[in-house]
Amino acid sequence: MFCIIAFIVLSIIGIFNVSYRELAKEAYECVFRRITFRPCNTGFKEKMQAKLVGKLLTKSVAAARFLNKHFELLAWLLFITTVASIFWTGKGLFNFYMYGSCNGLNKSGFCALDPKGENNKVSQTGGSCGTGEGDESKVTLKGVDLSLFPSQKTDSKDEVVLIGCYSCDYTRKAYPLVKQLISENKVNYTFAHYPVKEETLYLLPIGYCAYKQDPDKFWQLNDKLFASEKSDIAKKEFVDTILKDIGYDVEAINSCSTSPETNSAVVDRRIQLEKTSVYGTPLVFINGKGLVGPKPYRVYERILKGWRFW
């Protein structure tokens, strides 16, 4: 049994350290009974035990005695620890690949593959940007009336929803990826502005009115807002020129945006968005699965395509 444990442990260490490969090979041979316990040859376990205990003996007699006495048990503990760490490493790698975070979907704990946690950063709904600490398991589209929001419909069953904030870095990071996703795949796409910062609150009614006036041009407006400087889009005059450039009737939009009807429409939409339990932007739903924070493109694509991705 010890051979098997040693073989697994040594093989793993051997990946990184050449000097352990020979021992791993010996353990392998031992496993397959090529090393028999002939009297002229000591067994692999005895050899390893003597080596380790001997090493320790130069440091501490008591520790060496302890190791020698409980060698089998300690070997088992080491084995279990190793297996557990392999499992967690594997899980971490899997999660990072699948969700862009070692810890699983939308989990923001430390991840060696994404040490700064970029894939989980969100602009918190409280207003400041940072690592989202909301309850990612609660984000949902259940009961949310998506028909109220700007959308591009196709005959596909796949659905991508982006809830983002024009002036937030992380939504800006996710936006081109979502665009790439919807251009490369036939999907129904819905966009909702969720202003986590005061300065883009005014874009809610403007967006509502612009979409009402010309839904096609709305997507150009979206692109431009995300492409412009954050400080610029905080200024109404700047946004007016964008609207004008696209060909919108700026006057009409301005008067629409201050109307009570628009006001109540904006509130309605906000109520719908709150139902998603959004705690930070960007929040991307792909076929109902919520992803908080800007994920690597492969994560979006994999979730959209499901098994077809492999």
Partner: protein, 397 residues
């Protein structure tokens, strides 16, 4: 300070404590240089070719033969046959002596496999018999039992001169005299004897003596079979081919006289020349010093080992009777573990296991032993380190 240590590269800066001399000794620089010289300056065939390099090889090999012949006090250098090791020497005699079904070979209960398996094979192949002389209580040779065993069917007495198991040396003179009286020949396995004491083959009147070069400062895979010339001429070579014949036709061949007829194929020239250098070196050291040094170290080691509770020394308790060998075991403590740990903690090289004398260990129901074997270049300091570390290891096992 033991000045000879400077000649041994491994010992110069005390990198290891080498106590596995019964397996192989270390080599002094003189031997290494002799080997290098062959490969660098005259790496040619001996005996066959006519050019001057070949002549030099032949000359150097014959010189080595002469050195060894003088070392053993042989009558003539042609009594020295080069082999690869003791095992080959014993096999040569076993297979060339012309033993027949019913012939008896006497051996002891402590023989190395090299002096047991050949007789088992001949028993199975041609029906010889072998008789085992069991040692006395203290593992020394039982001369009385031996006398009882001798009879006219005994054709050969084949005994380990000094045992690698416990270092005990047999009373060879008496054994040989008795054997000759009974009409038997005597082959001595000198692997552990020739490196450690002065041997005079004429004085002993031994018929054959096999030993290994690597246990006496020589290169690995070198050995010698000494045989009385008159006997060697009667022996059929057991390995034949190139260099063993004076000439051949498609139908016939004419063997060369000894020793060539036993040295089939191209020889290990570098090894033979190195062995010559090793014997030269041993001559300068002298057996008086070698024995004195071994006894001093073994006395200290034995005295200290006796203080370890439960430890049992194999063989007589008096170290004087065990040369440079101290073989011991501690019931319940694994001999391999002890050896491995000593290597790990202080680079102490000792042998553990059954030392290729499985038969004795099985018969005595002892799993194995740890064997420390010293040589003249070992020091008291090393012996002290060995004892100190051994006590530490034993205390935790």
């Amino acid at each position: 300070m033991n000045t000879h240590r400077q000649d041994f590269p491994l010992l110069r800066d005390c990198k290891v404590v080498y106590f596995d001399n019964a397996c192989q000794t270390l080599r002094p620089k003189q031997v290494i240089e002799a080997i290098n010289e062959y490969y660098q300056d005259y790496p040619a065939c001996g005996g066959r070719s006519m050019h001057h390099l070949a002549a030099k090889v032949t000359h150097k090999c014959e010189e080595a033969r002469s050195i060894i012949s003088t070392f053993l006090h042989a009558k003539r250098k042609e009594e020295i046959v080069f082999t690869r090791n003791t095992t080959e020497g014993i096999n040569l005699v076993a297979h060339s002596l012309g033993l027949k079904a019913g012939d008896i070979v006497i051996i002891s209960d402590k023989e190395h496999n090299s002096n047991l398996i050949p007789w088992q094979v001949l028993r199975d192949k041609i029906g010889i018999e072998y008789k085992i002389i069991y040692s006395k209580e203290d593992n020394t040779f039982d001369l009385e039992a031996y006398k009882q065993a001798l009879n006219n069917r005994v054709k050969l007495v084949s005994l380990g001169f000094t045992s690698n198991l416990d270092g005990v040396t047999i009373p060879a003179n008496e054994i040989i005299t008795l054997a000759h009286k009974a009409g038997a020949l005597v082959l001595l396995d000198g692997a552990q004897a020739v490196p450690h004491r002065k041997i005079d083959v004429q004085d002993l009147d031994v018929d054959f003596l096999a030993f290994s070069g690597h246990k006496m400062l020589g290169p690995s895979g070198t050995g010698v079979l000494y045989g009385k010339y008159s006997l060697l001429t009667k022996l059929d070579p057991f390995m034949v081919g190139g260099d063993t014949v004076a000439s051949s036709t498609y139908e016939t061949h004419e063997f060369l006289p000894p020793p060539e007829k036993f040295e089939a194929g191209l020889q290990d020239y570098a090894g033979i020349i190195g062995l010559g250098a090793a014997v030269n070196y041993l001559n300068t050291i002298g057996f008086e010093f070698i024995e004195q040094q071994e006894q001093m170290l073994n006395k200290y080691i034995t005295t200290e080992l006796k203080t370890i509770s439960g430890l049992k020394i194999i063989g007589p308790s008096d170290p004087k009777e065990r040369g440079g060998i101290c073989s011991f075991y501690i019931p319940g403590k694994d001999h391999h573990q002890i050896a491995l740990m000593l290597d790990e903690t202080s680079k102490i090289m000792i042998r553990s296991g059954q030392h290729c004398v499985h038969s004795w260990f099985y018969a005595h129901q002892i799993p194995g032993s740890v064997r420390a074997s010293v040589y003249f270049y070992n020091t008291m300091n090393e012996a002290e380190v060995f004892i100190r570390e051994l006590k530490k290891v034993v205390s935790i096992l």
